[in-house]
């Protein structure tokens, strides 16, 4: 079972188990991770599930699709490693993934 570590804006890390095929956003909600709101439930239409992929993982996770890139316009303090966590699917290759959550989603 892959694990994912969420690091909050204040630096607190929480490692949780994730299920292959689910999204990083769903994993966050199931585990009560703060700083992920996911208002649209994963429809890529709210940008309140914004995360920063840790530098070690950006390559494996890859970049956003054009639709996601558009939606990132509605997020704040967007960085090159920004992703919408509802658009990242969990798989064995992402075992150990680290993402940072922003202080504010909207």
């Amino acid at each position: 079972m892959p694990s994912i570590t969420f690091i909050s804006s204040s630096g607190e890390a929480r490692t949780v188990d994730a299920t292959n095929g689910s999204t990083v956003m769903e994993t966050a909600l199931q585990n009560g991770i703060p700083e992920i709101e996911a208002e649209c439930g994963g429809a890529c239409s709210c940008a309140t599930c914004h995360v920063y992929v840790d530098a070690e993982w950006t390559e494996k996770v890859g970049g956003p699709s054009p639709m996601e890139e558009d939606m990132l316009d509605f997020a704040f303090e967007v960085k090159p490693e920004s992703r919408l966590s509802c658009q990242i699917k969990v798989s064995d290759t992402l075992d150990g993934l680290k993402v940072h959550t922003p202080a504010r989603q909207g």
Binding site: E39, C40, C46, T48, D73, F74, F76, V78, Q105, G106
Partner: protein, 342 residues
């Protein structure tokens, strides 16, 4: 002061459940006014997922958020509801005769016998940029919507964002402005291509200043904006002179003013009974995503059921002498007349 609208029912929220409440109330001859802060009806279905299919609406194997909204609008048309869009209900108070007075942020005042709160996940409100002191500037120098274009004449305007709202207002306000700058995080705009082309033409003519970056800090004393610091992609900061900032970063659902109306709340939801879907205040009902009760499911179909039972109670309050007879739309000529099909 605008005239007070006197009515039987005011529905707060034009999401699927608020719309269907018009139908259920209408069958009982109750006319409703519907208020929503969005400029369109449909709530989450229209704002968050208009093109996504929904598979669990009974009798409709597959329907998109937008189609469902359109179907509901067709279904409630015979009841001629009055819509007040782009208006938020801000205040709700009880009057001595047991009715309620509601006020919107646009100055509309209602006096109504019953109130139906169908506020869903809360009112859709503009996202505020994460600038620590943005509150100080709101209303004076920072605006999330344009109510009167004239108020922007001769100003140095900074628009932030890359979507349709940002570009529409840039194009509308540019002729009035003393100067117009747009700041966006990338040199790609999701807005309609036609608007983007017009904006690029104005940039080429030197009439609009395009800055790629993200707003950092606002400068100026006492809420009077003088400049905005913009973080550029290379990490440096550029200061842009402006006295009006219009940030357009989409919408987010906030509980909003209903927390201050004196009805009981439980974790930002309104507890109701499951017979009438009434709140702690008799005459105020809550249906759809905003309410909670044992076993509540935040589904559209639950909200539809809640609307039907709510209406049965509302009619008894609005017109206590009226005898309510249970009827089917299939066979009741009376109901069919109301629907305009008999």
């Amino acid at each position: 002061m605008t005239e007070t609208i006197k009515t039987d029912a005011v529905i707060i929220g034009a999401g699927p459940c608020g719309l269907f409440a018009v139908f259920e109330l209408g069958l009982l001859d109750i006319k409703a006014h519907v208020v929503d802060i969005l400029d369109k009806v449909g709530g989450q279905c229209a704002e968050l997922y208009p093109e996504k299919p929904i598979y669990d609406i009974p009798g409709l194997p597959e329907v998109t958020g937008q189609q469902l909204t359109e179907n509901l609008m067709a279904q409630i048309k015979p009841f001629e509801p009055t819509f007040h869009l782009s208006e938020m209900i801000e205040s709700l108070e009880k009057l001595p005769d047991g009715s309620f007075r509601l006020g919107t942020n646009a100055g509309t005042v209602f006096e109504t016998k019953v109130v139906i709160i169908a506020a869903g996940g809360g009112s859709f409100q503009p996202k505020k940029p994460p600038i620590s002191n943005v509150d100080e500037y709101e209303g004076q120098s920072v605006f999330y919507a344009v109510r009167k274009m004239e108020a922007f004449r001769g100003r140095d305007i900074l628009v932030a964002g890359g979507g349709d709202s940002a570009l529409d207002w840039l194009l509308n306000l540019q002729p009035l402005a003393n100067s117009m700058t747009i700041v966006h995080r990338r040199d790609d705009f999701r807005a309609a291509p036609d608007s983007v082309n017009k904006m690029r033409a104005l940039v080429a003519e030197g009439k609009v200043n395009l800055v790629i970056g993200q707003i950092g800090e606002l400068k100026g004393p006492g809420g009077k904006l003088e400049a905005a610091a913009v973080k550029l992609p290379d990490g440096t900061v550029s200061e842009i002179k402006c006295d009006a900032l219009l940030p357009f970063f989409g919408l987010t659902m906030k509980l909003g003013p209903l927390a201050e109306w004196g009805i009981n709340l439980e974790q930002n939801l309104i507890p109701v009974d499951t017979e009438k879907f009434e709140t702690s205040e008799p005459g105020i009902y809550a249906i759809g995503d905003i309410n909670t009760y044992p076993g509540k499911l935040k589904l559209i179909l639950s909200g539809f059921h809640e609307a039907a039972l709510m209406a049965q109670s509302a009619i008894r309050r609005i017109n206590p002498d009226k005898k309510v007879v249970f009827q089917y739309t299939t066979s009741s000529t009376n109901l069919q007349k109301k629907l305009g099909v008999a």
